[in-house]
Symmetry: C2
Subunit: 417 residues, 2 copies
């Protein structure tokens, strides 16, 4: 039987050129997070299933997890999101850790979903959280980091829109419009789809009375300055501080962030491109995170950012940079010069130049083609004449331009780029 070369459905292979892009994407995330004093952590991709049976999105738990029984009869689930794992880790060392904790991670998560554009069965998601800081500065910081990441990818302010609201405000609005606490979760979920195609379907599932109240609520928030409400004051301060720090945000009380666990400020970052006008990612404040573990409560604010939607955004706005190979020089041994070629390669490496060595003995043109295919900027030829003269030829593949000289001099050319 011949084995298939396809990867598992909905999961991606990362060939070097794909991995190079991923390293760039993750590199920007890491740089911004660390600039704000966040430290990276990680957790196992397999978790006890119990961890996901608490609060959360029921649809994901019941229909979308990769859950199975291990050989020791334990039910395990492949990570669907990082929040339960990080809550577990923080609860496990609740007393030992120094607060506020600033933590980030870029875990891979798995969900069994219908595969579609911008959504596979696995994705990576940057998670950024500040634990143990109830101040509005922490809310501000989460949004600033999200904003800085967009800017560091080269996005300009008109390409995306950060929409903010808060759960306190939402609760007051719901009460004001006659929804009691039993309806809170349902209406929150309907509002969460306000800018999604599923909104009408979700809305019309409500009873007639709720539909009427919902329309009144939507009218109200369009016409009134909700920040004047008692519950809007904290949100008003957050928006005010952000504006002073040149971070543009839009108040939007329809932003709820689906999940039940949010307790305060919530935000979502939208792509403004007409072909992709949708929410890309978001986050907010969730102060009851450790409850399920019986640990002392901890005020927390954070966000998650998936790699699929990010990549769509960057491609659509033409923000993906041309990425070069990490290899700088391709040394080609001509004829029987493998030993000298190896010495030359070693010398270049000792000068911190990433150098691949081709001692396959193939035709020169074939070797050059290989270097070109890998987008390696320089090739260096080592033949008998070169060895005898101790002068080698360095060719820049983009222009065909050549320099001849001892290794030292050629290394200098490579350094200069």
């Amino acid at each position: 039987m011949k084995l298939s070369t396809d990867s598992y459905k909905g999961a991606r292979d990362f060939y070097p050129e794909d991995k190079r892009l991923q390293k760039y994407l993750f590199g920007v995330m890491r740089a911004v997070c660390e600039r704000y004093g966040y430290e990276e952590y990680d957790a196992p991709i397999l978790e006890p299933t119990d961890l996901y049976l608490q609060k959360g999105n029921q649809e994901i738990i019941n229909e979308q997890t990769y859950t199975f029984t291990d050989r020791g009869d334990r039910s395990v689930t492949m990570r669907t999101e990082m929040t339960p794992s990080v809550a577990r880790m923080v609860a496990g060392k609740r007393q030992e850790l120094g607060y506020p904790l600033r933590w980030y991670s870029i875990p891979q998560c798995w969900r069994y979903e219908r595969t579609q554009r911008g959504r596979g069965r696995e994705f990576y998601q940057l998670n950024v959280d500040i634990f143990g800081d109830a101040s509005i500065e922490a809310d501000v910081e989460a949004i600033r980091i999200a904003d800085d990441i967009m800017k560091d990818y080269g996005a300009s302010a008109d390409m995306y829109d950060i929409r903010v609201s808060s759960r306190e405000l939402l609760r007051e609005l719901l009460r004001q419009h006659g929804f009691d606490s039993t309806m809170e979760s349902t209406i929150t979920s309907v509002l969460d789809s306000y800018r999604k195609p599923s909104f009408d379907k979700k809305r019309t599932k409500l009873d007639q009375d709720s539909q009427t109240k919902l329309i009144e609520l939507l009218d109200y928030i369009q016409q009134e300055d909700v920040l004047q409400l008692e519950s809007g004051k904290r949100l008003a301060s957050i928006i005010d501080v952000l504006e002073k720090q040149d971070v543009k945000v839009t108040l939007d009380p329809t932003i709820t962030r689906g999940f039940d666990y949010y307790t305060g400020m919530v935000f979502e970052v939208f792509d403004t491109h007409p072909d992709n006008n949708r929410s890309m990612y978001g986050g907010g404040r969730y102060d009851n995170l450790l409850e399920a573990f019986g640990a002392e409560p901890l005020p927390t604010v954070g966000f998650g950012m998936g790699d699929h939607t990010l990549q769509c955004f960057l491609e659509l706005h033409e923000l993906v940079p041309a990425l070069q190979s990490p290899t700088e020089v391709y040394v080609i041994a001509i004829g029987q010069e493998a030993v000298t070629a190896s010495q030359v390669a070693t010398e270049l490496r000792s000068k911190n130049i990433n150098t691949a060595l081709d001692s396959t003995g193939r035709k020169l043109e074939k070797c050059i083609k290989t270097a070109d295919k890998k987008s390696i900027p320089f090739v260096l030829f080592v033949g008998e004449t070169e060895r005898k003269e101790n002068r080698y030829t360095l060719r820049r593949l983009s222009t065909g331009e050549e320099v001849k000289g001892p290794v030292d001099e050629l290394a200098q050319v490579v350094f200069e780029g």
Copy 2:
């Protein structure tokens, strides 16, 4: 019910200090591989189970995999090793890729094993492979990279021993001592355990005739120069070139590398420490990698290196460096100075200084303690007096030494380290 804060049995949580060590370990691997012109790739952690049902270690397949059926009724297996995945990827683009390919990856792998020292249920394993190069220079390069990695961790030549042999040589030795081809796989596996506690158990399971032949074989390789054999010539050249490049290796015909797929040179790196005198990792040449996919054969040489055994080695030889926080400055807002403190932090960040901001309003001593707990080297105080004078205090936590000045000057102190 109170949820447990334990991670899944046999799997590790990486708190920031653990992740910092991992980043150091992987950073060295990446730097050495890229120095030799290797490019990073990755594959999904879930693979179709069929991929593992071909050649390989039967024990792992039958008893040690995490295998389950997905919601679409496909049998999937969590990656146990990277080789089947990389073979799949290369076979999938057999004609498009430019050879020789130099690829590396640091995937996480899962095996359901009894948990013990240096062995959990998940581990990371550096995989380094050169595809499409049949020359002895490729064999040499694989061993040189393994050697360079050890040196880059600070290991001296007496701390480890690279033992080499080859499957061609092994086959000639087996034939010479009367083992026919049906016994090859069995004896290869017994020899693989020669330096392990399981050797006696495995050996005594053989019939009396095979046991006698095996003893004769072991005597023979101790007394004779096996490199003089016809099948030893290629290995002799590899050893010769390595010696000329100052890489110390030991010939050891008992090295076989268990797996059936090796076809040529094989090597293992041993820890020489008396408390841990065992094989840490290894690799070799395996030229029939793509057979199962019906793709054109491709000469390949590579190795894998697990993170557990590496970490044991570094700890035992006291080679784990003291690792600092990526955060350089901890800005503390005193009293009502959150706005100014935030401006100071922004200014430091704009100078590429990783800066965390503490605007919790806690007692100063508590804030300093937090910075210290996170091994952040500097704290910077922002109070009312400081703001009015536009001069702030920077304290180096290790010595208690303080400097007062505008942000520009303090940034300079941080740069100087």
